[in-house]
């Protein structure tokens, strides 16, 4: 039926035969899209006397908000921390490839690097919307260099930094600019870091705690100053201790200011975290759990030796180690694999697994029009079967990837 639109001439698409994730429940409802946003069909009917131009039959699939990956270091041979001449080409390549994993928005992540690398790479990566060309870039995630030497993980020690008297000025000297930076991971036990946390939050940058030996007190102080995320919980931090739970204790801390949520990234690839630990975190604080891939350049590539940032790593099966050691250097799991593994390991509901990859990262980054299927939100969508395998990906209502039959 032709639409009858008094408000807009833009075509209207109606997705039928789907179960949409709305209000934390899967509901049998149609999803309406116009001009890249989710439309309220009741308003359309009564106010505009309009209806759909196209109908897309979802054949009973699950329709969820597109996944958002806030920690991804590269993939398909691209390393975001590499200071190449054409960084944006690398970002574009990855952004296009990850559409097949259901990721519609992401934060390209840089590991600890020398100032020269930041100064060269950062100006080349801009926040921009996704589309047929690839997933949207929400801003950079700068993981380091203001982290703990003891918990550097795969980060190169020689490029770690501390805050000298300057605090935020030292940080700006290292990075060059905070334009297009969505998140910074730092260790809050570093002298001078608390004022940096406060200043970063004031500038709208999300602050995450990670690669740190902070105790719970120091972590709580940082949260007080505005920190709202924990980078890959359990990994590169002190283990939970019953008299000092450390950063892990933030999950159940009573010093988190009311109205605020502390989110925490989990790499649910089956390797970085024992399923029992994943379950403990999920059960303690389910609404804060954010699935991340922490994928490295080797994701999507065959096994062997590769370079990540300033170091050499080795891929063996599903594991990626710092070459010559047993230190994990990031994962090669894809986001949809993480969602399925997370659901399987925790026994959580489909809705919870999907929200951990969409709603929660959007809430973390305070993006109200992403990560949900509410009226007015961006129509970044994924279609999945009951086992959470991807069937299609949409950005702004347009199909940008479809599984080959």
């Amino acid at each position: 039926m032709p639409s009858n639109k008094s408000v807009s001439d833009a075509p209207i698409t109606q997705f039928v035969n789907c179960r949409i994730l709305r209000g934390s429940r899967l509901q049998r409802e149609d999803l309406w899209v116009r001009s890249g946003s989710i439309l309220d069909p009741e308003k359309l009917f009564f106010d505009e006397q309009g209806y759909a131009d196209d109908r897309v039959d979802c054949e009973g699939s699950i329709m969820a908000p597109g996944f958002i990956d806030v920690q991804i270091n590269g993939g398909y041979g691209v390393d975001f921390s590499e200071a190449s001449e054409d960084v944006s080409a690398g970002v574009s390549l990855v952004s296009k490839k990850i559409l097949q994993h259901g990721v519609t928005s992401f934060c390209p992540t840089l590991v600890t690097s020398p100032a020269a690398v930041y100064h060269k790479v950062l100006p080349q990566v801009k926040v921009h919307d996704g589309g047929a060309h690839g997933a949207g870039v929400l801003g950079l995630h700068l993981e380091g260099p203001f982290i703990s030497a003891e918990k550097k993980g795969a980060h190169p020690e020689r490029f770690l930094r501390t805050f000298q008297a300057g605090g935020i000025d030292d940080l700006m000297a290292a990075y060059g600019s905070l334009d297009n930076v969505a998140m910074v991971t730092l260790a809050p036990e570093l002298a001078g870091s608390q004022s940096v946390v406060r200043e970063l939050c004031r500038r709208g940058v999300t602050v995450s705690l990670g690669h740190s030996v902070a105790n719970l007190s120091q972590a709580e102080e940082a949260v007080d100053q505005g920190a709202s995320f924990i980078t890959h919980l359990f990994n590169a931090m002190l283990p939970f201790h019953h008299r000092d739970p450390g950063i892990v204790g933030l999950l159940t801390s009573d010093r988190v200011p009311s109205g605020r949520t502390v989110f925490y990234g989990m790499i649910a690839d089956g390797i970085h975290t024992n399923p029992a630990a994943l379950r403990i975190a999920h059960r303690a604080h389910p609404e804060g759990l954010v699935l991340v891939t922490d994928a490295i350049m080797a994701m999507g590539l065959p096994p062997g030796r590769r370079t990540l940032g300033q170091q050499v790593i080795e891929i063996q099966g599903l594991h990626a180690y710092v070459a010559g050691t047993k230190t994990l250097s990031g994962s090669i799991a894809t986001m949809d694999t993480c969602v399925r593994h997370f659901k399987h390991a925790t026994g959580c509901s489909v809705e919870e697994a999907l929200e951990a990859a969409s709603l929660h990262p959007a809430q973390l980054l305070r993006l109200h029009h992403k990560g949900n299927l509410d009226y007015g939100s961006d129509a970044d969508l994924v279609l999945l079967d009951d086992d959470l395998n991807l069937k299609a990906t949409f950005i702004s209502g347009e199909e940008v990837w479809k599984k080959a039959p």
């Binding site: 039926m1 009858n4 149609d30 309220d40 009741e42 308003k43 009917f45 006397q49 309009g50 209806y51």
Partner: protein, 281 residues
Amino acid sequence: MSPRTMKLIVLNDYEQASEWAAKYIRNKILLFRPGPDRFFTLGLPTGSTPMGCYKKLIEYYEMGQISFQYVKTFNMDEYVGLPRDHPESYHSFMWNQFFKHIDIKAENTHILDGNAADLQAECAAFEEKITAAGGIELFVGGIGPDGHIAFNEPGSSLVSRTRVKTLAKDTIVANARFFDGDLSKVPTMALTVGVGTVMDAKEVLILITGAHKAFALYKAIEEGVNHMWTVSAFQQHPQTVFVCDEDATLELRVKTVKYFKGMMHVHNRLVETLPSVPKKN
């Protein structure tokens, strides 16, 4: 000479009553053979009673038995002052329970606007729209525990037209369950078609289910025409069908119920699947 009939249809339970009513409506529309120059005008109710009937009509649409493309609808009523997108507004009810599931066009649906700047003018305009559409072929309604039809509360004029009404206490109490059980949240006024408006329809179908409606049904058909029980006005309508479940007949005389049940084999012919009526799509 068109038929002058009163039928009381008694089914065993709510589901069967809903299904019978839905099939009756479906067949009426199909036999009318609606088309681009010939719309079937249908009056519609809200509330919990007709929900089963709407579900069945949606089913028949999904099975391809019926289309609403050439059907015009006129709802009975709407609260005054409730935002149109409030989950309990009758606009929301009709969208969620019926319109969004079928192929009806928005411009063919008519629901009174309880937020109109001039409520009297809105009511007068509604009457004019009904007239312009050629009158209502079939008006489907329910009954309140106080025997009201639409919001024609006890004491309403039996020749009333569409107007603003203050709701009776009984009605507010009955509707509180849709407003978190909080009486203060229930709207106190509504726009409603009048008794006279519904009486003008060519045919009227009243759905009555549940024991709590039994006394009202008794007053409506076994006692006299009385404006304290406004549904009783339909004793003087040329073509009325009352569709009930067993529980709704609990206050009727056994003799009345037996009489009408004895005719079910005749009445059931009205709801048989029509064999060769071509659908106009």
